[in-house]
Structures are given as C-alpha cells and as structure tokens.
Amino acid sequence: MAQAESVGGDLQLVHLTKMFATFTAVDDLNLVIPKGSFFALLGPSGCGKTTTLRMVAGLEEPTSGQIMIGEKDISFERPYRRPVNTVFQSYALFPHLDIFENVAFGLRRRKVKEVKSQVEAILSLVELDGFARRMPAQLSGGQQQRVALARALINKPEVLLLDEPLGALDLKLRRQMQIELKRIQVEVGITFVHVTHDQEEAMTMADTIAVMNGGKVEQMGSPTELYENPRTTFVANFLGQSNLISGKVFERSDDLGVELYGNRIRVPRSRTSSNSDSLWVGVRPEKINITLADRPIPAANVIPGVVTDASYIGVSTQYLVKTAWSEELMVFEQNLLNSGARPGDSVNLSWDPAHTFALDANQDVDAGVEVPEADS
C-alpha cells in the first residue's frame, strides 16, 4: 500500500490494531483514504468495520497504531476535537430533543450562526421538511436514519463516517439515498468512509472499496478491479459469485497453461496472483458461454458438462452444469443468446482466456460464500 507520499487531508490508518481482551477485532490495518474520496468498507458481520470507524471517530482507543488526517496524528485526540462526524449504525438520536435540535446539535456546540436556515436546508435535503418539531420516537426507522445522516452532514466535517447508514431503508428509498449521498459527497468534497454489508451498494457508490475479513483488509481497489481481478477466494466469493476450479500449471509462457482435470485452458499472467503451480482457476458465471455439445464453441477455454438445473429469472437464465469431476459450475446466460440447453443436455462451457483469473490453491474455496443475509 502506498503510504509514504501523503497529500493534504488524506485519512491514514497505520498499523491500526484493536484488541478486546484477547480478541483481535482489528488486526494491523493499513489504509490510505484520499481526501474527498468515497471509500467503502465492505465485509461480513463482525469483521471489525464498526470498530475501525469508532477508532477513527475517537470513541475507541486503538491498542496500537496510528490514525492521521493529513499530517496530523489524531490517534488519541478527544472525539469532539476531531474534524470527523459519524452516522451511527444505531442512529443514536437524542430522544429528548426534537428533530430540529438533534440536527442543530453540532452547530450549537460550535456556536455557529444561522442555525435555522442551515437546519432547514439539510432537512429538506433528506426530505424531512415539516418534521422539525417531531420527536425521534415519532419517526419511522428510515426517517430516523435520515435524521442521523443530516445531523452529521450539517457539520461539513473533513471525514464523514457512515456505519451502514441506509440499512433500514426500503429498496426504493435506499437507491434514492445512494444517489443523493453520492451527489452530496461530490458536491461538498468531504471524504466519506462508508461501511456496508451490501456489495451492490459499495460497488455503485464507492471510488475505492476495501474488503475486510476477520479484522484485516483482504483486498483494496476500485469496484472494477476487485470484481474483475480478485486476489483471494474470499473476495472472489464475497463480491459477486465465482466458479473456482482446482488446476495445475503445465506451461508458463506469455500466459499460463493450466490443466483442469484434463482440460487445458489459458490464464493471463496479469490475472494470476500466485507463483504456485497449484491454483484455483476462477471465472465469473456471466462470462461463460453455454452451447449444446454439437454446436460450434465460441471461446478458447472449454470445459464440457451436463446441465443439471436451469432457472429462468427474467434478465438471465441461470444454469448449473455438472462437470466430469462432479463439480457444479454456475452459468448466467443473457436471455438474448438462448442456447436452448435443458437439464440433462450435454453442453460445452467456454470463455475467453482474458476473463480467467487464478488464485493460490492454498486457500479455502468456500471462503466468503454468501450465506443468505442473516442480519442487516
């Protein structure tokens, strides 16, 4: 990770570690979050996202390591002296103050003038005009969440920490708020650190995503890079879905020749994150063509198989195809192409070598496979 050249107000986490008794919640985290960027922390429940944010906000003391904004070390600064505001996962609205006073709280503490006009402006931004004199308990979950957002945003901090700020909203409102949040972020140029479970949310909103697992960053990069070029099985499975097939390298030239249970395929070197000869060869389900066995094969990497399941889901048809070694591969076929494959048919699965990636075989294949949303 580039760490030496820091510019302006970048948020930097340097060897940041947090232990609760003997349990390491955040493990030697190193991140540089450029000023003004939209950064997403994505990871499964309990991986240390909230703990990381709390350390940045000053609500939890790091066990070791540093937090810097620009050149300034804020690791042990009191929370109210940090140019950082938080949208809490649990909202934490003040129950004895009405919405107006909740939102105005930060301005009043800093003795800012023109509180009224600013509060009204931000309330209308989150579409809560007319709610100013209600109490928090009289609002729905989604409305409370928007108040929490307004209450933090109104202070125009250097860094805004958002801990799953859209979790309680319904899909339509969530999409709307995502666009709105992104617009606000671009407009005010504040650094957003956005924590989420929702990979789609992270992909659509963030400039950079860090995928966290067990207190560590598994991989960091742009949404495209993470999706197209995952470097661990966890990322390959957690971000979208992947077919991972065990393979052995038989040739190293401009690209790699890899044998998958007797099927020889090619993998670009740039998409191989291991020097080992045993690899997990990965390909995304939507990159695979499915063709009946007697038809011409459109791409160079080929594996034959038998269709075991086909489900039509509108935009695509999802196939499960069993290979000779009994692994079930997933294929998403756009409903434009229509191979006509049915369960029981013998088919060829083929894909462009450029769409193949390879990971070190020394990892759990099922790491990060999504268990259907247990919590939110």
């Binding site: 929370p79 505001n85 609205l93 503490r109 800093r110």
Partner: protein, 287 residues
Amino acid sequence: MPTATSTRSPSQPVLKTPSQIHRARVWFRSHLILLVGIVVLGYMFLPVFVVVALSFNEPKSRLTYTFDKFTFNNWLHPCQVGDMCTAVGTSLKIGILATIGATLIGTLMAFAIVRHRFRGRAVTNLLVFLPMASPEVVMGSSLLTLFVAAKFPLGFWTILIAHIMFCISFVVVTVKARLAGLDPRLEQAAMDLYADEWQTFRRITLPLVMPGIVSAALLAFSLSFDDFIVTNFNSGSTVTFPMFVWGAAQRGIPPQVNVIGTAMFLFALTLVLISQLLGARRRRRLG
C-alpha cells in the same frame, strides 16, 4: 346465523338461555378488570378519604374517633394545637435538607457504580442495599449508640444525618436503574458532535437521567418526612411531625393532624397533575 335459526326454530328458547349466560359471561369478563380495579383502588384510598373527612370534623371530645360535626375551623386555624406547626416545620426542614443531601450523594454514587470500573465496585453495589435491608429499629438504636459514644448532642443534626443515611440507598437504586437504561452511544454521539465532557453531561446525560433523579428526590422526601422509628431514637428533645402525632395519639389526636395530612396529599396530587399536564401539552405541541 340465518341458517341456524331457520332450521332450529322450535328449539330457539333453549338456545336463548345459554346465549344469555354467555352474554353475561362476556360482560363479566370484559368488566372484570374494572371491578377489581375499583375494589383495589377503594382499598387504597379509603384511609385517605377518612383523613380528608376527619380534617373537617369537630370532635365532641379529644378521645372520640367518630365524625361528629362539620367545620372549617381546623383548616382556618391549623396551628391552634400545641406545637404541631413547629413540628411540621422541623419535619419540612429536615425533609428538604435530607432530600438535597441524599439526592446529591446518591446520584453521584449511582454514576460511579454504573459508569466507572473501579476496584470494589461489586461490593459497593451490594453494600448499598444494606441500609434498605436492615430493620429500622436496629438501625435507629445502633445509630443512637454511635452518637452517644461519640458524645454527639442529639437533636436536629443527628436526625438529619440519620435521614440522609437511610435515604441514600433508595436514591442510588432509583437513579442507577435510570442510568443503566441510558444508551452510552447517545453520549458518544454528543461527543462526536463537538460537545465536550461537561456539555455532554449537561445537554444529554443530565436531562435523560433527570426523571430518575426527580423520583429519587420525591421518594427521599417522603421517606424522611414519614420516618418515625429511626427519628425517635436519635431526636433528643427535637419533635418532628410523626413524633408529634405519636405523642398526641396518647391523649387523642387533634383533627388538625388530618389537615396537615390532607394538605400533604393535595400537594402531592398537584405535583402529579402538573407533570401530567406538562406532558400532555408537549405531546399536543408535537402531534
């Protein structure tokens, strides 16, 4: 049920009786809570009504306990009997001072127990219950021994010290319950929004814990104002209102005692009413 009636018209009278019983049962069931409520409330308030009624009584002799004649005289001249008003004054003074002292110390203790992890916290938590659990007679007599041994003159100050002592536990328990229910993230949110420690306490913690502190204070006052046993041991020659009533009971209780009782009751009622009205007004403003 038209089908039932048409096919079974001859047996209708037979059907009617069970349905009447059924209706009575439904009526009884739906009004049961009301009935029980009235009985229990009556049970609770009967003594209060007696006190109110007797405050307008003009007894024929000092020793009768019957309602003889209606009069406003007791209300117009409450201080007519002996030193009763002095005793009430002493009780009020002790009550107020004990409330302030116990609420202050007890609230601080509650904060310490809930918010700070110090050595001996668990023990403190337990010991706080001790004065509540030990019998008042024991507490009163042992305090007396203590004061006498220390050659501390008995009177106003010994009563006050004793009252503060036994009120503290109740304050701690009441405030602690409220404080334990307070989400620490609210204070963290305030700190995140530029409130320093003092502002966070003043703007968030205190207002949210206030209902607990107020009820603790009211409880402390009523405990102190009421107390007879502990006071009786440690009062020396000072006479509080409960002691006056006790003394007077030997010679017949003057009806003015009921005036004080009723006045206290009305005062408490007014407080409750005011708080209810304020709450209702706030809700209306918001709604």
